[in-house]
Amino acid sequence: MRCGDFKDTYIRDEAIFQSVFVKVWLALFLVFLLIFPFLVNEYVLYIANLIGIAIIGAHGLNLLTGFTGQISLGHAAFMGVGAYTSAILITRVGIPFWWTVPMAGIMSAFAGVIIGIPSLRIKGLYLAIATIAAQFIFEYVFMTWESMTHGIRGINVPDPELFGFQFDTEQKFYFITLFFVIIGTLYARNLIRSRVGRAFIAIRDRDLAAELMGINLFRYKLTSFAVSSFYAGVAGSLWVSFMNIVTPEHFPLTLSIEYLAMIIVGGLGSVIGSIYGAMFMVLVPELLKFGTEFIKNIPAFQHIFAPLREVVFGALIVFFLIFEPRGLAEMWRRIKNFFLLWPFSY
């Protein structure tokens, strides 16, 4: 710990912004985020939007898996529920995009609670398997409920608009994403330092002990599922309006796994970790694409990109789990501490 960094009240110890230094830097960072879209091209903004949506989804999963310790392999399914809710409400009922975002969240939260009910009896490996089943069942529903979801053809969704202003480019959509990312991050950070957040952490560390201490397991586990799926639903509904289309193939099991990979790489049980992880997992394939640009022209290697991505993805998960199980957040903390304490890093 840094010299002279002590707190004399609990309120200060629990504060989101620990010091003036942090506040200034965050304010500068926010300004940077606001001018960022005017400095870069469409492609970078496209990636930025994807990262933003991934951050929201990763926050949700990290609350459930990282903080509450309930492993979910069905996160993509909840995103799908949100995405379809939003798409159907916009195209069928004609509700504006802005209203469909919370509605999608609520619908997903509802689905999440239903899937969360078995979590009272089963946990760990068994729960992970139950959520896989949920993933497959939801995927199947998206595929076969033709009258609602249009099956494999999917639903086309128009761009969001506000007072006649069309959010039709990557640049304009960036601000929507940024808005939701900031709200989502603040809420997650805040939730963790509240009574609910502490209950989550207690359940993760030892659920039976938590119950003995008077934490209502059923209620808090379901809360965790609901909040997590709410995030997923919001991410899903942003995703449809960004991509302008939704089909059942957009929310496969591999996406759920990708989200788990994000929070593991970023740092389980760390709000900032979800952000690092989401950025990392979205950027790696893109960087890989640049890295393999030169071999693309050799015909023999043309088929190598997609599988290479898979190998790198798997290798990253394995690497992080073995060498840095607490993820990028921990790595960053260590590097920061090294320089803070240098040259007396004892």
Binding site: I71, Y126, Y140, H303, P307, F313, G314, V318, L321
Partner: protein
């Protein structure tokens, strides 16, 4: 009635394969408390190795089988040593995710080496459907069933009656006691993975014979989850019974519900899985876990 019997018979044949793969799955779970989500990829790699040896070396199938099993055996040992060993004692999520990462690596590598093309096995065994009088078993299913049953019997005998099998069971029931009796836990861990990889390789060859192979064949491996949950994660007998039940159920759903709801066959086992988890989470024959603070 004819259709029913036909569905039952092919269900039993497919169930045999599920039972074999589930057996490998349960072996690993019993020995190391790891759920191996890469089971399907083990199958896929085994099938590809077998196919490659068959098409390039053109040696008799019996030798190919031996080579494939030897390869799977080595693969199991290497994977256990490099990837699973460092994670002993880590939280469940790490263990689950590491096998998922492994499956992604294997799938990608297979994709690179063998490309994404769909391939089918050459005729290795006499193609002759099996006429039972009331139902006909297609040749591929027939051989699959025979191989699966041989596999199941061999592994069960090893597990029940050999010195090694007893050591494995001792290790599963209490690691510390087993160690103090002079059992080398590390070797048991490695061997469990090797045996599971061998079982999966046989399963992969059988499935490859029935439906052809491509890098996504590993998806079949997920079907093993309903099987082991139904039978109980730590029960060898449960894996076998569960395999047959799920195989039959899947085929019946395919025959009777698919015409109304297309594709229902694929998810029927998972719906069953959800119900089992709600009613009897430890499965038909699994050990009920009692938790204490």
């Amino acid at each position: 009635m004819d259709i029913f019997l036909q569905l039952m018979v092919s269900g039993i044949a497919v169930g045999g394969v599920y039972a074999l793969i589930a057996l490998g799955f349960v072996l690993i779970y019993k020995a190391t408390s790891v759920i191996n989500f890469a089971t399907g990829e083990f199958m896929m790699v085994g099938a590809y190795i077998c196919l490659t040896l068959l098409t390039y070396l053109k040696i008799p199938f019996a030798f190919v089988l031996v080579f494939t099993l030897a390869f799977a055996f080595m693969m199991g040992i290497v994977i256990e040593r490099l990837i699973l060993r460092p994670l002993i004692g880590e939280p469940i999520i790490s263990v689950i995710m590491v096998t998922i990462g492994l499956s992604s690596i294997l799938k990608g590598l297979a994709h690179m080496i063998w490309t994404a093309d769909f391939r089918s096995f050459p005729e290795i065994l006499p193609a002759e459907p099996w006429n039972l009088g009331f139902a006909i078993v297609p040749s591929a299913l027939k051989w699959g069933f025979i191989f699966a049953i041989i596999g199941v019997i061999v592994f069960t005998v090893i597990f029940k009656y050999t010195r090694l099998g007893i050591a494995m069971r001792a290790n599963a029931s209490d690691q510390q006691v087993a160690q103090s009796m002079g059992i080398n836990t590390k070797i048991i861990f490695a061997l469990s993975w090797s045996f599971a990889a061998c079982a999966a390789a046989i399963g992969g060859i059988v499935i490859g014979n029935i439906s052809g192979i491509h890098p996504n064949l590993g998806h079949v491996g997920l079907m093993v989850l309903p099987v082991v949950i139904l039978g109980g994660l730590d029960s060898i007998g449960g894996a076998i019974v569960g395999g047959f039940i799920i195989g039959i159920l899947e085929n019946l759903a395919g025959g009777y519900i698919d015409p109304i709801l297309p594709g229902f066959k694929e998810i029927a086992p998972f719906i069953v899985l959800v119900f089992i988890l709600m009613i009897r989470p430890y499965g038909l024959f699994g050990k009920k876990i009692i938790e204490r603070v």
